[in-house]
């Protein structure tokens, strides 16, 4: 082997060694730490998924129990006029509480995420948040909506909204995210006029301009609202 060949082999070895050190450094600094973060994150996501599955099972069980109770009450009402009268009263109360499915004319509002602006930094103004949903639902109720559902979740007298970073949680349901569909049964002309009013929903309107947040709506002669499938317990409240 000539001196020149020796030198080139040494050069190749040195370059390979340097590359090896650089790759190892990169792996330590850039790859392993994120891998741990990702693993931790995935564990949290798995927990959420497990809890969501439990949540769905529990809601299905509640819906089934309510149907069985209704059948048993119907049977009892068939044997007594007094029971039938009571059942009619409860049926009306259940309808107003959102415990029974309903349909009628109304309006469907669609809310969807916009685009992050170039100067939005870490801001999440382009995402649909729970306050947007709350504002739209309140506006529709103020315009006489008789029943409302959000992505198939029925709104009840006890409904509360929460969430963060584009996640919308309604009562005991799973988190919802864009696109959000708010379905309301009631006077569709009145609701449409309110949604058309440029002074209504000021926060959403501002973000429509800034982040192209989507807000569209369409009227319909017949919309279906599902029954509420969660809890209406008020353990701390006693009727006077």
């Amino acid at each position: 082997m000539t001196r020149r060949q020796m030198l080139s082999l040494v050069a190749v070895a040195v370059v390979a060694l340097t590359t090896g050190f650089l790759v190892a450094g990169q792996v330590r600094a850039q790859l392993l730490t994120p891998s741990n973060q990702v693993a931790r994150y995935q564990a949290l996501v798995r927990s959420v998924q497990d809890l969501e599955a439990t949540n769905a099972d529990a809601r299905a069980k509640i819906a089934a129990l309510r149907a069985q109770i209704d059948a048993l009450e119907s049977e009892a009402a068939g044997r007594s006029a007094a029971t039938q009268a009571l059942r009619n009263q409860v049926a009306d109360l259940r309808a107003h509480a959102g415990l029974t499915a309903m349909h009628g004319p109304g309006i469907e509002v669609r809310l969807a995420n916009g685009a992050p602006g170039p100067d939005s930094g870490g801001l999440t103004g382009y995402l649909v948040n729970y306050q947007d949903v709350q504002d739209v639902v309140n506006l529709l109720f103020a315009q006489g909506a008789e029943g409302i559902s959000v992505n198939g979740r029925r709104i009840t007298p006890l409904t509360a909204y929460s969430g963060s970073a584009g996640q919308v949680i309604i009562d005991q349901g799973p988190p919802l995210s864009s696109p959000i569909k708010v379905t309301a049964v009631g006077d569709r002309n009145r609701m449409a006029a309110a949604l058309d009013d440029s002074s209504a929903l000021p926060d959403i309107r501002a973000r429509q301009v800034q982040f192209q947040l989507h807000l569209t709506f369409v009227g319909s002669p017949d919309l279906l609202l599902p029954a509420y499938d969660s809890s209406l317990r008020i353990p701390h409240v006693t009727a006077s």
Binding site: A16, N55, L86, M102, N138, A142, P157, L232, T238
Partner: protein, 235 residues
């Protein structure tokens, strides 16, 4: 024959071996670099896709879902008990179950006066809007309030809270300052929400005073009138 050509060809073989070895080393180095790059980029891609929901938000979500599932479990237990009562008794049992549910739903819908442990919040301010009041009531409901009233006007989801020329109206009636928000529910949880809320309100220039008190028995006498459906039909 060119003088530059190797007449015996004896020196060409080791030269090929040396250059072949170097190429192999380079190829391996290139392959390692390629795999490392792909791996780093894919990890970075995964990390970027998770930016939407941070771990803190996920932790809150888990907490919310735990609480929701406990509540659903309690509702299931109540319903199973109601079903067992209906299965075991005659029309007397059915009447009792139906009467109990009617009483419960009237309280849920704000149709009857109610009482129980709770928190009373007082906010004296100028210029607060209907959206401010809606946000406050929603925070309290999300924080465990089971019945609420504002200045003796009963509020449930669906009661209109609107901005009018003279200020904020609840169910069509103007609500003058100071606002007294009466809540019934888990007073520990509502107390925490009220504490955070009043601190935040005191930092608001429109607010002159914001305070709360926890009470063992709060009474809400205001009720909502029943509204028959005009458009909706039961399915």
């Amino acid at each position: 024959m060119s003088p530059r050509r190797n007449p015996l060809g004896t020196r060409r073989l080791p030269r090929r071996r040396a250059s072949g070895g170097a190429i192999s080393v380079w190829l391996i180095a290139l392959l390692v670099a390629l795999i490392a790059t792909v791996q780093i980029r894919s990890e970075a891609e995964v990390a970027r896709s998770l930016v939407g929901i941070d771990t803190t938000s996920l932790a809150f979500l888990i907490d919310d879902l735990h609480r929701a599932n406990e509540s659903l479990q309690a509702e299931s237990t109540d319903l199973a008990q109601r079903k067992a009562t209906l299965e075991s008794g005659g029309s007397g049992a059915a009447d009792q179950v139906l009467s109990d549910e009617a009483k419960h739903l009237r309280a849920v819908e704000g149709l009857v006066p109610v009482h129980g442990p709770g928190v009373v919040i007082t906010i004296d301010a100028t210029g607060l809007t209907a959206l401010d009041l809606q946000d406050a009531l929603n925070n309290l409901a999300a924080g465990g309030a089971e019945a609420m009233a504002v200045n003796d006007r009963r509020v449930v989801a669906g009661v209109p809270i609107e901005q009018t020329g003279s200020g904020v109206a609840v169910d069509g009636v103007f609500i003058a300052a100071p606002w007294t928000i009466t809540t019934i529910g888990d007073s520990n949880r509502i107390g925490e929400v009220a504490d955070a809320m009043t601190q935040q309100l005191r930092a608001d220039r429109r607010v002159r005073q914001a305070s709360y008190r926890v009470e063992a028995d709060v009474s809400i006498r205001a009720v909502i009138s029943e509204r028959p459906f005009v458009y909706a039909v039961g399915s």
